[in-house]
Amino acid sequence: MTHSGSSLPDLPNCTSTAAPMSEIRSPPPDRVLEIVLENVLHFLTCRRDRNAASLVCHSWYRAEALTRSDLFIGNCYAVSPHRATSRFRRVRSLTVKGKPRFADFDLLPLNWGAHFSPWGSALADAYPWLEKLHLKRMSLTDDDLNLIARSFPSFKELVLVCCEGFGIPGIAAVAANCRLLRVLDLVESVVEDADEDEEVMDWISCFPDGETHLESLVFECVECPVNFESLERLVARSPYLKKLRLNHYVSIPQLYRLMHRAPQLTHLGTGSFCASDDVAVGDQELDYSSAFAACKSLVCLSGFRDILPDYLPAIYPACANLTSLNLSYADVNADQLKPVILQCHKLQTLWVLDSICDEGLQAVAATCKDLRELRVFPGNTREEVEGPVSEVGLEVISQGCRKLQSILFFCQRMTNAAVIAMSKNCPDLVVFRLCIIGRYRPDPETHEPMDDGFGAIVMNCKKLTRLAVSGLLTDQAFRYIGMYGKLVRTLSVAFAGDSDQGLKYVLEGCPNLQKLEIRDSPFGDAALHSGLHHFYNMRFLWMSTCKLTRQGCQEIARALPHLALEVIDSQEDKADDHIEILYMYRSLDRPRNDAPKCVTILQ
């Protein structure tokens, strides 16, 4: 795109009929504006702003592409690695997300995809200066990790969330070769076990000798023992280490030693939080609370993987400063929780097991006035009539924690009244995820469906962007969502609704919907069809065990050529045309060729 010379201000050394000499000395007029633009665009960090800027005109598109250093790929199949690296030439930090969230609950076949390898080779070619890589739900092998370790000399951060396919050798390669590594975070990832007859490699000792640059080391999910002496030495030579999350092979006496080595820690995952088998209880009991007193900067505690509740009081010295506490692996009851929680006045994030009961939630509500995020996980996943937490706990939390923004709550019973109360008491709610474990369960007091409760949430919580529904729900609940859930971006539905109309309400009513995951609900082709106008705006749609047919999906595929419709079916010949799973997403490139046999991609 060229600019007319007359519209430019008179710049020194710059005329429209420049002689070759002055051209060498100064850039041509249109290029000057681009350089100015690039300089300005450097300040734009938000990717949505950048996306908008890139649409202004070609020169803004180019300038933006050259200045984007943080690239976010929400779906690894939406765009090919080549297309991404061709457009954005100077990327330092890349985030790629792969499988849909329902893969976490084993609803997706193994080897479905999200292989990192094609991205790995493209990155090695295009971005030798790459510093950060953040992958979520991707499948990556030890070879991929080796490639990462050897291709990027400035590599600083590796964050793997819910990934799988790699093992200790891959981690060791990263530790050994990335000399500038600051962050190595392995979160909820499946790290392949070594075969029984192989020695487990001590990857901790693969970090180079001497002082490290490590700021964050997270390996809670690595299911194999670490060499403690190596770990202690590593911690001792990592003066910048702020985040350390240990796996459950680290015992509490070992934790004690590590904490004294690293009193500057801010985020700590405590490992097992119980004594190892070798040491008899009571044998030279250390004063564990001294370790927590020594780490004066602790704000986030997690771990407690095999906790002996007797040890919990050791964390008292840290409670007053804690903003985040994750006890979701700790089977503690209300009486064990109370003395801890009553000291946590600054707590903003709390993850717990429902073993704390409604009584424990009461204690939380009484003390944690600043609570922003609460997650209550089920200790028992059976469908029972009663459970340890209920509408009582939810209501109490809503009364005590008015600043609540995000809640995930598993329970066996819930009433509309409690949900309505929360919708009124907590107007700042952005994320509301309620999972009533009993499927199709109505309000136990009124025997009504849970429509009104969720309706109140979408009506009253004006900032709501993420919603997960459960319990007995009719189409009316979806009518509410379509009417009031104008900002909703992510919606999770399971065992809900009466008819196609339910899904139609949502697809027609929610303009900001980006991620829709539905399972076991009676929505069929007609319902899907009503979303044609919106599917290009969505990141993905997942529907499993609904009433979709292959024919219906084929029609969608024909109508929208840039949509990939993956039909996942385990049985070859079926009596009817109904499909098991539809996973649908927009894509700029040809359908992928790495899908397993059970996946058919419709065009």
Partner: protein, 197 residues
């Protein structure tokens, strides 16, 4: 070991409905009082879960859920759902919780030649492979399973096989029946020397 699991799996995938002994079917689609173990969803998703294992090692595709209670088996049908993928709790958390929760099925395990036995929670494992692996670790030995390809190789006294006592008091080889059926019939386990079987 792998071959044994393969053989068992072939048996399972061939006839998805053969796994569980029938009993009272749970009332479906209505709120309360689902029996604890609502079994797998439609047969198609039985096969689906055969490919939806998280790890590369094999596991049975009939994961009828951790919330098992022996008297509540029923043949899978489309209405009934696996409690393994509902509620939506990640398997890492779920596995940890099984060990801590009251839902457990502890059985005694003896190894031949050792008078003091151990106890093991069968429900902490999802399949034969995991069970054998856990026992091999616990007792520090190699445990084989019956397999026609491997029998000629058995020699020496550090190789064992896994047997169990069933409800009728008979001692049987572990691995012949589907995992869930095994769980309902096992009373105790014994690790015996391979050359004795």
């Amino acid at each position: 070991m792998e071959e044994m699991v393969m053989a068992t799996l072939d048996l399972i995938t061939a006839s998805p409905h053969s796994s569980s002994s029938s009993s009272s079917s749970p009332t479906t689609d209505n709120n309360n009082n689902h029996p604890s173990s609502s079994s797998s969803s439609s047969s198609s998703s039985l096969c689906l879960s055969s490919i939806s294992t998280r790890r590369t090692d094999l596991s049975t595709d009939l994961r009828l859920g951790l919330s098992l209670s022996p008297s509540h088996y029923s043949t899978p049908s489309r209405e009934q759902r696996s409690s393994f993928d509902w509620p939506p709790v990640k398997s890492t958390l779920r596995c940890t919780l099984v060990e801590k929760s009251q839902i457990s099925q502890f059985v005694k395990v003896y190894m031949e030649g050792i008078p003091i036995g151990r106890k093991l929670n069968l429900l902490a494992h999802h399949n034969y492979h995991a069970l054998v692996k856990a026992l091999a670790n616990m007792f520090r030995t190699t445990i084989l399973c019956p397999d026609s390809h491997q029998l000629p190789l058995i020699s020496g006294n550090n190789v064992h096989v896994l047997t169990y006592e069933d409800q009728e008091g008979d001692w049987m080889m572990v691995g012949d029946v589907p995992w869930e059926m095994f769980l309902t019939s096992v009373k105790k386990l014994k690790i015996t020397r391979a050359d004795r079987c």
